[in-house]
């Protein structure tokens, strides 16, 4: 039997197909857009084609993520909090804290024993502590987002980015560039400001082990900044941007 999880995020759509033993058979990644349902359907079909199956061969589908309720063809929708927790627990059963940083959301999930969600905190109406902040900076400094880490490593003194808002941070960064601040220090400063946001979400209640998920976990340098800021070692989940989709697929296999 084959089960599917679709994570319709704010910036990207992720699909995971698994078998009844929770083994990943195929993954798909596509950009999010206006026609969310069409894009998700296409991605599911493309991913199915990779292993030579049709939609009809999929027993159950669970959707999660920002666009989960716009996908009518799925069996049920479950929030990304529950799906991320499920996805992480499958990989690292003793996980206690999950830090997920996505395109427009960041969240911190605390787990009780057996992967039960104890509570969660999310960023409020602002993208400052999210991947969007890094995208803006990469665009402004005209570099690839995946190269940011290489520069940040060379920073001698991370710049202080005080703006609470991505829009104003852009202006602040422009000011720093004009005043001759190095790109390395600016990037390190932005990464540190994201990590500080996450640390304030967690308060003093971060318990080990801490697992890092979401697309931002793929950006080199973020993990070490996060570790320094929260004072705990951080483990990046395997295929971190697929954690939600994997959790959704596992939950699909558990639907009766």
């Amino acid at each position: 039997m084959i089960f599917a999880g679709i994570d319709a995020g704010s910036r990207a759509i992720k699909v995971q197909l698994i078998d009844e033993n929770n083994r990943t058979l195929a993954s798909g990644l596509g950009e999010q857009g206006v026609k969310q349902a069409d894009l998700a359907t296409q991605l599911l079909e493309q991913t199915s084609a990779k292993i030579g199956i049709n939609r009809d061969d999929i027993t159950k589908v669970v959707a999660t993520g920002y666009g989960r309720d716009s996908l009518e063809f799925v069996d049920t929708a479950i929030t990304e909090i529950t799906c991320h927790a499920r996805g992480v627990i499958h990989q690292i059963s003793e996980a206690k804290t999950i830090i997920d940083i996505g395109g427009q959301d960041s969240k911190l999930i605390r787990l009780e024993g057996q992967g039960v969600v104890q509570d969660f905190v999310m960023n409020e109406r602002c993208a400052a502590g999210t991947g969007n902040f890094l995208e803006v900076v990469a665009r402004q400094l005209e570099m690839d987002i995946l190269d940011l880490g290489k520069y940040a490593e060379k920073a001698d003194k991370p710049a202080v980015i005080s703006s609470m808002c991505v829009v104003f941070a852009e202006t602040e960064i422009l000011g720093l560039l004009t005043s001759g601040e190095s790109r390395e220090n600016i990037i390190a400063g932005v990464q540190a400001s994201i990590a500080t946001r996450i640390a304030s979400m967690g308060g003093r209640q971060i318990a080990d082990p801490v697992i890092f998920t979401g697309g931002v976990a793929l950006i080199p340098g973020m993990t070490s900044v996060l570790e320094n800021t929260i004072g705990h070692s951080v483990v990046v989940a395997k295929d971190p941007q697929f954690t939600g989709a994997k959790g959704a697929a596992i939950m699909a296999s558990e639907l009766n």
Binding site: T79, E80, T82, E112, V116, V117, Q118, M122
Partner: protein
């Protein structure tokens, strides 16, 4: 989220075994859906007969004293998002929406109760309200009650009694009336009766299968207290509601205790999000819920003014320091109403409730083991999808723990 404007004929089907669905409200519920027109009709008629109208903006303001001066207290708290942009011309945008909306109504001259008010009684509660009142006082005659904020300090209480006594004189001078012991006792009896009826209605939610939704209960009150028809309908509600079933059934929903800031008329966004995502608000510890109803005023006393001051001084608002009474209230409400989680609503920039949420979360999680979620928002619907996600995730968490 628009409420119906037209008056609906009373439902006739509710008597058939009390099996009415949520979608077909029984008569008392339908009556309160037109609360604003009813209150306006009442205020207009009474004003024509010579009664005075006094605008109030806080549950600390003793309605009984105003009623004893043969005047009608009307709640002016703004719940409309549309009134915020005009208010932001004068007030900072980083201010609580309730304060901005209340002021915006004055700028737009859009609140008929405010326009017909003879004067306003304001109070020194939070800084935002206190300073907004200074702007509002340029536009409307106003008296300000100074609320002391150390609830267990006897000197603070003595000061509060003096403030109440000054309000009494102010009412007597402005309206050339005498507030007698008897008129005050009469007003106290009336308000005690209303509080008792509303308390009993709220207590229906203790049932394993509550017969009404939190939203329906929230709507069953008025900007004006003690309107005779309202009291009759509270009594009727207590007769007809028990045994009513909800659709989807109450048993399938997650029981929620909602605490924090009030939900003035028009600002029911968070209540609606909770109840349309599988929740049922069984208890509201806030000023539009049980908070002002939990304590009555002693009737067997030689000093009704002091008894009145005492009841109001006990309201556990987050402006008080320390506000241990709120935590005690929450503990007993959690015991009685058996919620499965606690949701705290904080209007954006409401500093006192936001800071105090630290203690509420700690109490909920550590003492009662209940999941806790804080929602920080304003009147705009723009974050509804994000809030719904948090609420859904909270309910999934609660179900996961069971």
């Amino acid at each position: 989220m628009k409420t119906k404007n037209s008056c609906h004929p009373p439902e006739s089907s509710f008597s058939a075994g009390g099996q009415a669905k949520e979608s077909s409200p029984v008569e008392p519920i339908a009556w309160f859906q037109d609360m604003v027109p009813h209150a306006l009709e009442y205020a207009t008629e009474e004003k024509a007969k010579g009664k005075k109208i006094v605008g109030i903006m806080c549950e600390y303001t003793p309605r009984e004293l105003i009623m004893a001066a043969n005047a009608i207290p009307v709640c002016l708290c703004g719940g409309s998002a549309e009134m915020i942009p005009p208010a932001e011309v004068y007030l900072p945008s980083n201010l609580c929406p309730l304060i901005k909306s209340t002021f915006g109504y004055s700028i737009q001259k859009a609140n008929p109760f405010l326009e017909m008010a003879d004067f306003l009684v304001a109070e020194t509660t939070c800084d935002g309200k206190k300073k907004m009142y200074e702007l509002l006082a340029e536009r409307h005659p106003m008296v300000v009650l100074e609320l002391p904020q150390k609830p267990d300090d006897p000197d603070a209480f003595q000061h509060w009694i003096k403030e109440i006594a000054k309000l009494k004189s102010e009412l007597e001078t402005r309206f050339t009336v005498t507030i007698t012991q008897e008129s005050l006792r009469d007003a106290i009896r009336k308000m005690n009766r209303e509080r008792e009826l509303r308390r009993k209605l709220a207590e229906l939610m203790k049932d394993e299968a509550p017969p009404l939704t939190g939203r329906e209960l929230l709507d069953m009150k008025s900007l004006i207290s003690c309107i005779p028809e309202d009291l009759d309908l509270f009594e009727k509600a207590l007769e007809v509601l028990p045994g009513r079933t909800l659709d989807p059934p109450a048993e399938s929903r997650i029981r929620v205790l909602l605490t924090g800031v009030p939900l003035p008329h028009g600002a029911e966004k968070v209540m609606n999000i909770i109840e349309s995502n599988g929740g049922l608000v069984v208890c509201q510890e806030n000023c539009t819920g049980l908070k002002p109803l939990l304590e009555d005023i002693r009737e067997d006393t030689l000093n009704p003014l002091e008894a009145l001051a005492e009841k109001y001084f006990h309201i556990p608002c987050s402006v008080m320091t320390t506000n241990a009474r709120r935590l005690d209230t929450l503990r007993s409400l959690i015991r009685d109403y058996k919620p499965q989680c606690v949701i705290e609503l904080v209007w954006h920039s409401c500093i006192t409730y936001d800071v105090e949420s630290y203690f509420v979360r700690k109490m909920a999680e550590e003492e009662t083991g209940l999941s806790y979620l804080k929602i920080d928002t304003d009147y705009s619907p723009s974050d509804s999808a994000r809030l719904a996600m948090r609420v859904q995730a909270l309910f999934e968490t609660v179900r996961g723990k069971r």
